[in-house]
């Protein structure tokens, strides 16, 4: 069985990716840096957005200064600068 993970796009990330979500095939040990490369390979227009965005994994913000490893089934979200209120 192929394992997968999901990436969600919101706001300017959704506009750049022209979709609100993607599914990627999971490969063992894929890191946040490798994820970023995969995202840009699929959606070059995300380049600018990713520079100012945070990642959330399973609805928790990730520390931007630390690398992390994607797990199968993870729900990863690109969180551009927020503007609620």
């Amino acid at each position: 069985m192929t394992q997968k993970f999901t990436v969600l796009y919101f706001a300017s990330a959704k506009d750049a990716a022209k979709t609100d979500s993607d599914t990627f095939e999971w490969s063992v040990g894929i890191t946040s840096a490798a994820l970023t490369r995969q995202l840009l390979a699929r959606h070059p227009a995300l380049d600018h957005v990713l520079k100012t965005s945070m990642f959330a994994v399973n609805m928790e913000y990730m520390d931007q200064d630390q690398s992390w490893t994607v797990q199968p089934g993870d729900e990863i979200a690109i969180i551009p600068p927020v503007s609620g209120g």
């Binding site: 969600l8 919101f10 706001a11 300017s12 959704k14 506009d15 100012t52 959330a56 609805m59 979200a77 969180i79 551009p80 600068p81 927020v82 503007s83 609620g84 209120g85």
Partner: protein, 157 residues
């Protein structure tokens, strides 16, 4: 003897519906409360001299609600007099004059409720995954599109 202490309740919601201040404030009523503080964010008709036609909000709803709950937990750690806390945020269109967010806090005495309300809206604006798009009129003929832009909250109030 005063009646037994109330269980503290939290209410968080991301909703498509129009938000009623009264409804949200009623959630936090309690016989132990001496104070109910609320904050409502409403759509202004202007931003830096551009005329705003409407706002549209988008949210990562399940994470937004979860993060709101964490925010309330943090507020309770800072202020021990809070009773019930409610945070409602609208998504979708929010025309000028309409309410985008309501925070309501009941507390035994007023000081902590007022402080927590101010803190919660400050933190909501930097932590909760919700995005606002401003859609402008350009001052030309009716219906002319003045463009739109995803906003970013700056960290200053």
């Amino acid at each position: 003897m005063a009646s037994p202490a109330t269980a503290h309740k939290d209410f968080v919601k991301i909703t498509d519906d129009v938000i009623s201040l009264d409804e949200v404030a009623k959630l936090v009523r309690d016989p132990k409360a001496g104070a109910i503080s609320t904050f409502s964010g409403t759509t202004r008709d202007n931003f830096e001299d551009k005329e705003v036609k409407t706002l549209a909000y988008e949210a990562y709803a399940p994470m937004a609600e979860q993060t709101m709950k964490q925010l309330i937990n943090n507020a309770r750690a800072k202020w021990n007099d809070l009773i019930h806390v409610a945070i409602y945020h609208k998504i979708g269109d929010c025309p000028v004059g309409e309410t985008s967010v309501v925070i309501a806090v009941s507390s035994g005495h007023r000081r902590q409720g007022l402080e927590a309300t101010a803190w919660l809206i400050d933190e909501l604006k930097v932590q909760i995954p919700i995005w606002k798009k401003e859609i402008y009129t350009n001052g030309g003929p009716e219906g002319t599109d003045g463009g739109e832009v995803w906003k970013a909250n700056n960290t200053l109030p």
